[in-house]
């Protein structure tokens, strides 16, 4: 099970019908689940009523590893909104998971952003905000 880091997030987490279960499971059980298609045996992301690969509605959420490789990453240093100012710098990444889908996350404990390389192996850590009552995906270099 992925490690949990306590954080203060810059904004409330706004979920939707399609990702509500993902974030609820993350916050309450710290279990990492991905949408999975029983018809074509592939994971996909984000969650949806049908599989993005084959169009089947035989989809479910299935536990996944949380391991993958960085696809891309940036480090925000400018307060595009006043509420984010105290959280800067804030690094964001996209990660190609071992299961296939590319997901979005915060990059944490990374040192110098300019020395972090694309395709570096990473693993999931949960970023949990008790005050806001939510948990999001973070990734840490292996």
């Amino acid at each position: 099970m992925a490690q949990v880091l306590k954080v203060n997030l810059p904004f409330d987490l706004r979920t939707s019908h399609d990702n509500d279960l993902f974030y609820k499971t993350a916050h309450e059980k710290q279990i990492f689940i991905l949408p999975y298609c029983n018809s074509c045996d592939q994971y996909f992301w984000p969650g949806a009523f049908i599989c993005q690969h084959c169009g089947s509605t035989d989809v479910e959420w299935k536990e996944a590893s949380g391991h993958g490789k960085i696809y891309s990453h940036v480090e925000g240093r400018f307060p595009f909104h006043k509420a984010i100012k105290e959280h800067l710098p804030i690094a964001i990444c996209s990660v190609t998971l071992d299961e296939g889908p590319r997901v979005f996350g915060r990059l944490v404990n990374y040192g110098d952003i300019e020395k972090v390389s694309c395709d570096a192996p990473v693993h999931l850590v949960w970023l949990q905000d008790d005050e806001k009552g939510c948990t999001i995906m973070g990734f840490e270099l292996d």
Partner: protein, 397 residues
Amino acid sequence: MDRTELRNKYSIVGVGYTPQGIVPGRSAASFYLEASMNAINDAGLKKEDIDGLILYRDFPILKGDAFHHTANVVTYSLGIRPKFLSQESYCYRTNINKAMGAIENGTCKYVLIVFAESGRTGRRTWTDEIDTFGNQPYDEYAAYGNISAFTNYAMFARRAMHEHGTGPDLWADIAVAHRKWANLNPNAIQYNKPLTKADYLATPFLSWPFRALDATASTDGGRAIIITTTERARELKNPPIMIRGYGSANDTSKGWQLTPGDPASSAVVAGREAFEMAGLGPKDIGAAQIYDCYTYTVEATLGDYGFFEKKKARDFMTVENIGPGGEFPVNTGGGLLSEGYYMGMTPIAEAVMQMSERCGDRQLGVMPGTRLPEFMIVSDNGGFYRSNETLILERGK
């Protein structure tokens, strides 16, 4: 249907500008109206001739107006009753497609396309949406700290550094080349502000690896064009600027999932369709007006169109090659980066002005060492590079 049958069937016949840059005290609605009337006058038409009106993505145009009914504000105030009326809810680029389609199916004769905003002194930023809903952002990404288009484009560009060896050294040249063009264009916001590569490199990263100078800035003002058949265009006062080739395509990924070098990107597909319809290839094109919301977008688009191998972008994207006096002029008015942000109206309007030889000091064919191109390629893209319309324009006789 063989799309080559549509080759040069449609033309752009009028362009409407407004005061632009920092123009306080005016609503976006006022710029919509002024740009529209100026395009109508430029074409030598009457406002009653406009039977199709297409607006770019809607942002609230009157202070305190949260009800996104811009199209009705514009038609009412212009006193027109178009048969075809359309406004995008988001950043999809379908305007030229809709304009030609509405004429082709017999609904319309003259379609006006317009975008305006008061983004400099009024409102219009991505983060306004967060303020609008209090501390309730509109999607999950704000909690991660991703609250600007800037971040998503920076992620796209950072991956391209890894894939194709690009980076700030090349993007600096793009920013400088655009500025040099803007310094020749009195309408440009950055007209009187020279920029050197050292200036660029001395500014801080806002979202590494992007600096402020990698992005367009919000503007006050508006811009419009009018499309009709080339046959009708020949009766009007301006030379018809004919649409020789056209393509559109959309990619379904999320903004942060953009993949540099994707062989099925919207620009690759739309570009290929446009070249095929035109019966031309990159070697036939004399200049380009490329949607340049960010520096890297210019590199990505021209690479996707096949003007160079992506790993050799450094050789092509030099100030000497794409700037004033260069072999392959790009964004000759300064582009979104240095002229002004009017969505796809910035590149399309500049292309029409160049092809109709109305560009003053920056006019290709008049500036020493330049030629008036026979064919010009124009891109409009939206939704974080996911939606693309490509035009290949030819000057009509």
